[in-house]
């Protein structure tokens, strides 16, 4: 029997945030498709003596991304210089973050096509600047600095991916988060969002990480990245099976040959000599701002999450959005699971959480289950009371009722919401929906 191997994959995603100006200068960063070198100034051209000046909007967008990925925002954060020579980098260094990133230690739950959920841990989300664009023509290299200095957020995961399907789901989910947050269009075709992967393989059952990893870099299409990862997994397993030792190296993708190729071995690995950027004072992050951004980040979480809650529990769209914004949705899900067949509808539970009838921040779900079971018999709404409430709601909301009659399905949710409000969340949403439909036939 031959040995079985599992891939170990970590991802680095770079996303350009959609500020009006660049990270450290006031040049417009609306550069896509514009004449080359028309969006530059001494700062982003790296001219001697030019000083960087931090864009506060970019910092907020980076924090929002981190918060949406459940990261902690650092109390204090610093930029560092990442030194290397390459023509896309005019200064000889990129302003980036290394030891004091803005956001650290998050996670994201990825849902696959089959509904299978897995958790990907986020190591960090930090702020840096994009580089110029190079075009290679007839043995020479042309440089356009329009993109130089555009705010770029790098999101680094732990090596938690096991296959390319998961990579696809993660990238899709990230893109949705970026768009919902309004921080980036995340258009891969335009290079708004770029992926790099670190790949190694280990024998099934082995807990420790392999002592090497192959970086896949400079692959500017998502499709090619997936192909490259799949090729790499196969190549590495075959190498190990034939007794080879694998090394730390950087590889690219040759689409014509459909294979990865060595770009840089460990011996040639970059030595970036990071050191704190002396031209930029540190950032002391305002905790009130973090709180505000946290709420905005929650409100903008992917529609899929809202849809899942609505579909799974039959609650209203509005309730789902509100709970996600509050951060009470995990409590809600746990509570509903524990309540089981007690006849208390999920919508009632949701409304109680939203209206603070349930103290979800301080109590355990077990406490609340006891409380609710005790109350259930006393507080149930009689069908007369429910009908009366619905009649009143329809009378108070003539236009919405007319909209529903005219075929607007959304109007029904609004009416149910109003009934819930009127009955302080004691009505059964499904029952209310049926009665409303009946009445507005």
């Amino acid at each position: 029997m031959s040995q079985q191997y599992n891939p170990v994959i970590g991802l680095e995603v770079h996303v350009e945030t959609n500020t009006k100006t660049k990270m450290f200068c006031a040049c417009s960063d609306d550069y896509f498709g514009k004449e080359p070198n028309t969006h530059t100034c001494p700062v982003c051209l790296g001219l001697p003596g030019a000083l960087p000046f931090t864009n506060e909007e970019a910092i907020e967008k980076c924090m929002k991304i981190g918060l949406a990925l459940n990261c902690k925002v650092a109390e204090s954060s610093l930029f560092e210089r990442k030194n290397y020579f390459y023509p896309d980098l005019a200064k000889g260094y990129q302003i980036s973050q290394y030891r004091w990133p803005l956001c650290v230690g998050g996670s994201i739950e990825v849902t696959g096509k089959n509904g299978k959920k897995s958790t990907i841990r986020i190591n960090r989300a930090h702020q840096e600047e994009d580089t110029g664009k190079l075009t290679h023509v007839e043995g020479r290299t042309l440089i356009d600095f329009n993109r130089s200095g555009v705010p770029l957020v790098e999101i680094v995961t732990e090596p938690d991916f096991t296959d390319t399907e998961q990579i696809r789901d993660y990238a899709k989910q990230l893109r949705e988060i970026f768009r919902n947050l309004g921080v980036s269009n995340a258009d891969m075709e335009k290079g708004d969002m770029r992926l790099e992967a670190n790949i190694s393989v280990r024998p099934v059952g082995q807990k420790e990480l392999p002592n090497y990893r192959v970086e896949l870099k400079n692959i500017n299409s998502f499709r090619f990245m997936v192909a490259a990862v799949e090729f790499e997994i196969k190549r590495q397993i075959e190498a190990l099976e034939s007794g080879e030792t694998l090394h730390q190296e950087t590889r690219g993708w040759n689409e014509a040959k459909h294979e990865t190729y060595l770009q840089r071995s460990k011996e040639e690995a970059n030595d970036y000599r990071y050191f704190p950027e002396p031209d930029l004072p540190s950032l002391a992050v305002d905790r009130d701002l973090v709180k505000k951004l946290q709420e905005e980040a929650r409100a903008a979480l992917p529609q899929t999450k809202v849809d899942n809650l609505v579909k799974t529990y039959g609650i209203s769209q509005e309730s789902a959005v509100t709970m996600i914004r509050q951060g009470s949705d995990p409590f809600f899900e746990e509570l509903v699971a524990k309540l089981g067949q007690t006849g208390i509808s999920s919508q009632i539970v949701a409304s109680m959480i939203i209206n603070k009838k349930i103290d979800w921040q301080d109590l355990s779900t077990d406490d609340v289950v006891k409380q609710l079971k005790a109350q259930a018999s006393q507080t149930a709404l009689s069908s007369d009371q429910l009908e009366k409430a619905i009649d009143e709601v329809i009378a108070d909301n003539e236009k919405t009722a007319a909209d529903y009659k005219a075929g607007k399905e959304n109007a029904l949710q609004a009416l149910i919401g109003a009934v819930m409000k009127k009955t302080s969340g004691r009505a059964d949403a499904k029952q209310a929906a049926e009665i409303i439909k009946e009445k507005l036939k």
């Binding site: 500020t19 009006k20 100006t21 200068c25 006031a26 040049c27 417009s28 004449e35 080359p36 070198n37 028309t38 969006h39 530059t40 100034c41 001494p42 051209l45 000046f53 931090t54 864009n55 506060e56 909007e57 970019a58 910092i59 610093l78 030194n83 020579f85 390459y86 023509p87 000889g92 190079l134 075009t135 290679h136 023509v137 043995g139 020479r140 290299t141 042309l142 440089i143 356009d144 600095f145 690219g252 040759n254 190729y261 030595d271 000599r273 704190p276 002396p278 930029l280 004072p281 540190s282 950032l283 002391a284």
Partner: protein, 98 residues
Amino acid sequence: MAKSTKIDIDHVSKLANLPLPDEQKRIFASQLTKILDYIEKIEKADTKNVEPTFNVTPNKNVTRKDTAGTCLTQDEALQNSKNTKNGQFVTKGVFKSE
């Protein structure tokens, strides 16, 4: 090439992107070694109760609003370049695919 245990002058010259003739490598290796000796002395200082300083000003959070200013024109941006083409800077080819 003079060998120094403290300085790998070939590595340093590569990192600095400065190709140096052997004679200069010898000179710089000896000068850089002296600097490292000096730093070794500094490292002996007791800094147990001293906060690291990365910035000599007491400033924090010096940021600006996200409002666009004026950029250089293409001609201005390129004016100091010896070699340009189609509005772009031209440099030696750096592309190696395989």
